[in-house]
């Protein structure tokens, strides 16, 4: 797992990952690139990350991939990421395509739902929490009043 201040250098990272696994005998390499779209007048998105829990979340996926003979990798940006640049990339390597195609789907969806990362719109230089696009993590709400017995 790799974290960077600002936009990701997608070509460098994907090229390096390809080199790292060049003799690992994987038959499939499926990359995913998340790019900031221009919408609603934003100039950038901005991200906060809580690294200790992100690392354990990622480590659990490394184990899950390994049990299928596959490998997952990811990189994410911290701070401001201008539109038309990348904030998140990930990839799955596996011996055959089917495992990698299924894993990239599950990995990216679980990333969206459970990786401890918070997104903000940057408009006129101000950060606004993207609350309407955010998802409560698994197990949320236990401290709320509805959690009372």
């Amino acid at each position: 797992m790799e974290l960077y201040q600002g936009s990701l250098d997608v070509k460098e990272i994907f090229g390096r990952w390809l080199d790292e696994e060049s003799s690992s005998n994987y038959g499939a390499y499926i990359p995913f690139v998340g790019t900031i779209r221009a919408e609603d007048g934003i100039e950038a998105l901005s991200f906060d990350i809580y690294e200790p829990i992100l690392q354990s979340w990622f480590d659990s996926w490394v184990g899950r991939a390994k049990s299928k003979g596959a490998k997952v990798k990811m990189a994410h940006a911290i701070g401001d990421v201008p539109i038309h640049t990348s904030s998140y990339i990930s990839a799955v390597f596996s011996p055959k395509r089917r495992v990698a195609l299924e894993l990239i789907d599950e990995f990216v969806e679980d990333f969206k739902a459970n990786a401890p990362i918070w997104k903000y719109d940057v408009i006129d230089g101000r950060r606004v929490y993207a609350e309407d696009r955010s998802t409560p993590m698994s197990g949320s709400g236990i401290l709320g009043k509805k959690g009372d017995k």
């Binding site: 998340g34 991200f47 906060d48 809580y50 200790p52 829990i53 354990s56 994410h76 904030s87 998140y88 990216v108 990333f111 969206k112 739902a113 459970n114 990786a115 401890p116 990362i117 918070w118 997104k119 903000y120 929490y129 993207a130 609350e131 696009r133 955010s134 998802t135 409560p136 993590m137 698994s138 197990g139 949320s140 709400g141 236990i142 401290l143 709320g144 009043k145 509805k146 959690g147 009372d148």
Partner: protein, 73 residues
């Protein structure tokens, strides 16, 4: 004392409180107006381990993290 940290967009400085379980933490936080509205949608970690068990016991020096809704990527 237990330290409570608020992550991401919750603009609240860390708190130190007396608590022997997450139930005690819930009671304390429900009484703080700026925080109570967040609680229904926040996840909880104790010493960086996620938990969804309100009866989790706490000891002196434990760190409780409050994680609001996420959106990576």
């Amino acid at each position: 004392m237990v330290k409570i940290e608020f992550l991401g967009p919750i603009s609240q400085e860390p708190l130190k409180i007396e608590a022997s379980s997450l139930e005690d933490v819930a009671k304390t936080l429900q009484d703080i107006e700026e925080i109570s509205n967040w609680l229904d949608k926040c996840a909880v970690a104790v010493n960086d381990e996620m938990t969804n068990d309100l009866s989790t016991k706490l000891k002196d020096g434990d760190r409780v993290s409050i994680l609001p809704p996420v959106c990576g990527g």
